[in-house]
Symmetry: none
Subunit: 186 residues, 4 copies
DNA sequence: GATGAATGAGCCTTCATTCAT
DNA sequence: AATGAATGAAGGCTCATTCAT
């Protein structure tokens, strides 16, 4: 039988989600339906597998987000990203949980981490645009990005849909916008 | 030495921060300056140590936060909590990182997790008060709490001080308040 | 190697005989000529190994005893069993000593103990037959069985052969038979 | 408080009986009601404790058996020994079980074993007398002694009393006596 | 003499990784 | 390319023994 790296990675998502970061490669292989030896034909190292899994998921997310209408306002484009991102997470919560698990547990290597970050350059640019349009709080852009991302994660973790998802977006946006209110007290 | 128990916990903070969730008890003992066997005189199990460490840090934080002026407005009291919380984290960033590491990695036992949660009942009540005062977005309180906590974590992780810390609070508050804005678009 | 499992058991007999119940799995593995990890591919637990070893030896003994001529007298059949049993023990004294060591040290699990007991149902039946023929002392059959077994063990431990082995059988039989003598004094 | 070696030994009997040969010295000390350090003030080594315990019990048994009426017949004197021995075991079964446990598990050192054997020289002499009287099977005396001892152990383990205890003695005696029957078949 | 914290060697077990088939 | 037995380093934990108080 011919296994593809992505077959293994897809199966690994569920295993990690259900059994935690500590699963042994042996157990992982068993659940994937492959002999343990085979696993190492595809990923020479456990770390390689972890990194590949992380990138796999991040790439999947990035392509789900795609591009946004460059002519729309920053907020509208942000809303578009928000919806796709949250939709991606809600469609398969395990993927989302595993991404958090891998990053939170410090399991992902620095290289993979950096490579994944690049995939979201477009999203970062979006914040740059908004900043240029002048409606953002006066804080370092990476901080604002982190604030948004934290709320995306929460929206997904809570499986928000419909109106709730929209409100959550407004909450996120309110935290980085509303310059009047903020500068007043800063 | 009679204070060895807390000596171990203190050392564990640094070790876990520097070497990750995977550190061996042996390395930990070495860093404390005791033999590996001695560790187990104080914590019968690695899990016990982890749980104790988590509670140790959470208790420390809870007592650093203390009580708030019950006669002040919800926002003012929230601000007070915010400042103390962020100050606690910034004073010793390793403590904060380790708390996140322990929770994020799923390393803490359910019992310890629950026990720690109780310590922050007062903080939760604060949100209840605010809700009763009518200034909050119409979302489940736990969600709002999570949004705030996520931003506390970010403020600490970024070591925000002075004006930046204040702005970050306004950002957090803006995300859960400003009902007019939010309901308008919901 | 496919027969490694029994290779391990065979080696375990010698090691336990020479080094006692306390041998480490590491020493055992070394004697078999495999790495310590390999041991656990065959026996997930030290206890599993002990139980398997006990059953291995008991099964070996049971098959060495085989069946007896159902048409012979109880005593003749007992004699047959006796000879085969003692012969088995004398042929490889270590096996016999290890069986005693495992049982005497309380090392064998209850399940294995029960499973092994079943193998000797036929031998027990033999005493039933004798009892029905009416030549046994009036004591609980299990007690009589134990008296015989104790003497088998002694015969083996002393490596009795030839005439001595035969005399030892007569001794054993005399202890449970000779009703006249016994009832007289009971 | 002043502990006596024999206080510790007495307590150790129950502990070993209930928890097996594997009890840790710490647990033993706890159950005896002494700090673990104290244990080593009395017995420099675990082995010393085990050996002392074995000797303690054997001495106790030896003194319970005492001397026999030198003018009686060998069998009568054996009967006297038998009764006292079995009575000793039945009076406190734990002592008996522990003796068997210690010897069966190979836990007793050679020196202690030898020293204990000496205590029963009188009992051995009894067999010598019997042999001289000419009533014994023609087998090495130590073998006959072992056959008897095995049956004593069984009688005690089964808690035989009254008539049953007497029958058991006749069984034991029958196994080493009745020369006519035995020599016929030897 | 009693104590109990400290010790560190050693035990059982796990697991990422290798490699002959 | 797939397999799975073998490996051996490493981990968590136990416990007999020591020793300062």
């Amino acid at each position: 039988m011919k296994y593809l790296r992505s077959d293994i990675l897809d199966a690994a998502v569920d295993v990690l989600d259900q059994e935690g970061l500590g699963v042994s490669t042996a157990r992982l292989a068993a659940r994937v339906g492959v002999s343990n030896g085979t696993l190492f034909n595809y990923f020479p190292t456990r770390q390689d597998l972890i990194d590949a899994l992380y990138l796999h998921l991040k790439r999947d997310l990035a392509s789900a987000i795609g591009d946004t209408d460059g002519s729309a306002s920053a907020k509208d484009r942000a809303r578009e990203v928000w919806d796709r991102w949250v939709a991606w997470g809600c469609a398969a919560p395990a993927r989302h949980r595993v991404v958090l698990l891998l990053k939170g547990g410090g399991a992902v290597g620095a290289v993979a981490l950096a490579e994944a970050a690049e995939l979201f350059a477009g999203v970062s640019n979006l914040l740059d645009s908004a900043a240029r349009e002048g409606d953002l709080v006066d804080m370092p852009l990476p901080y604002l990005a982190a604030v948004i991302e934290a709320q995306v994660d929460l929206a997904v973790s809570n499986g928000l849909r419909g109106a709730a998802r929209a409100v959550a977006f407004e909450m996120a946006w309110a935290s980085i916008a509303s310059p009047t209110l903020h500068t007043a007290s800063a």
